[in-house]
């Protein structure tokens, strides 16, 4: 078990822990914004750690580049989607009539 493999497995477990916590958060939190907060953690930290761990274990460049690209992509799209959902939900909650009527035909 080289040090790199050990570090890889550690990252994998950390990532898995983050994903588990995010799922638990999604289930237990009552409010939409709290759930979004938990989910975006899974997108950014969880997936990045899993990708890092898998990269260490595999070691070949041909695997590390797609993994890295995936981690960045998931982080970017996760954050943006979270923002979009939050702003849409915020718009609905404050009941801005003109925005409401305009958005819903």
């Amino acid at each position: 078990m080289t040090l790199l493999e050990l570090f890889g497995y550690a990252c994998l477990c950390g990532g898995a822990a983050f994903l588990l916590l995010a799922a638990l958060g999604l289930w237990r939190f009552s409010d939409l914004y709290a759930r979004l907060h938990a989910l975006t953690k899974a997108d950014t930290a969880g997936v990045a750690l899993v990708a890092l761990g898998a990269g260490c274990l595999d070691g070949r460049l041909v695997a590390i580049i797609p993994l890295g690209l995936t981690a960045i992509l998931v982080a970017v799209s996760g954050a943006t989607t979270g923002h979009l959902i939050a702003s849409a939900a915020l718009g609905e909650d404050e009941g801005e009539d003109e925005n409401e009527e305009a958005a819903q035909p």
């Binding site: 979009l84 702003s87 958005a103 035909p105």
Partner: protein
């Protein structure tokens, strides 16, 4: 060890499917359907079918989910259907009957009747590509793929022939969307081209590349830079039609050169397949976008 994983995955698939079918709220049902599609894709990776898993995730759950969400937005909330007991019993009997017969037929199977494998292995050498699925799709059974693209176009013609309805105005997506677009749009085009080139030797190909391209086009459509109403629809409409026309033209040209429909001249198989596939990728991306945006003005305005 993997059997435990398979059993858990199977249970998850069946449970998400049941949720998708019986959830009272439409958005929850569509979300469950999306997750169901991704899990089925995962099960196909387990069964050694990465091409199909990619297509199921990209088209089967991603795009279909987007179509469902857009359509469900304008619909009236679902009225609970009152089903009488005998009707429900009859439905249970027929459904259980079909599923039971199917399960029995599959369990009583002799060991797998192997016919296609040796033929594909023997002929893949002169099919021009080394990925067997692409070889079957674009060479051995190219007629199926051509007619399948005619199906896509027939769906587009159907949607164009329907009476027009008012376009649901796209809500403003706020300040964070444009920078996201600047990353995603070029990346999806680059990724689609990479998947297309990869398709000749590894899992990938025209359909997965077309779906990824459509994702990028949808991102542009939501951002407002890509419009599909009025005269702006003509370039997309031409792109959607171009793919099948290139395929048909290649088929007829091949017949002129070699005497049989869709028989690519020897030695040039890979070049022909790649030109057809690149036309298909652009056409599938444009067709799926037009199917999503629904040609709000009821057909192409010349």
């Amino acid at each position: 060890m993997m059997t435990v994983f398979d059993v858990m995955l199977a249970a998850t698939i069946l449970w998400t499917a049941w949720t998708a079918l019986t959830a009272p709220d439409r958005t929850a049902a569509i979300a469950a359907f999306l997750v169901f599609g991704l899990f089925v894709g995962l099960s196909w990776v387990r069964l050694g079918a990465p091409d199909v898993a990619m297509a199921e995730a990209a088209i089967g759950s991603g795009l279909t989910g987007a179509l469902l969400l857009r359509a469900s937005r304008g619909m009236t909330p679902p009225a609970p259907t009152r089903v009488t007991a005998p009707h429900r019993a009859a439905a249970v009997i027929t459904a259980a009957g079909v599923a039971g017969v199917l399960a029995w037929a599959v369990l009583v199977l002799p060991e797998a009747a192997v016919v296609y494998d040796p033929l594909v292995d023997a002929n893949i050498g002169d099919s021009g590509v080394s990925n067997p699925v692409t070889a079957v799709l674009l060479n051995f059974r190219a007629w199926d793929t051509l007619l399948e693209l005619v199906v896509l176009l027939a769906a587009l013609l159907l949607v164009a022939a329907l009476r027009p309805i008012r376009a649901a105005r796209m809500a403003d997506l706020g300040p964070l969307y444009p920078p996201f677009l600047r990353i995603m749009a070029p990346l999806s085009i680059f990724l689609s081209a990479h998947l297309l080139w990869l398709g000749t030797s590894d899992p990938g190909g025209a359909f997965q590349a077309g779906a990824v391209l459509c994702g990028g086009l949808l991102a542009l459509f939501f951002g407002g830079t890509l419009k599909t109403d009025g005269p702006d629809v003509m370039p997309l409409w031409a792109l959607a039609v171009m793919g099948v026309v290139v395929f048909v033209g290649a088929g007829l040209l091949a017949e002129a050169l070699t005497g049989t429909l869709l028989e690519y001249p020897d030695g040039a198989d890979k070049a022909w397949i790649l030109t057809i596939e690149s036309a298909l990728t652009l056409s599938i991306g444009a067709t799926l976008l037009l199917l999503f945006s629904g040609l709000r003005q009821g057909g192409a305005r010349p």
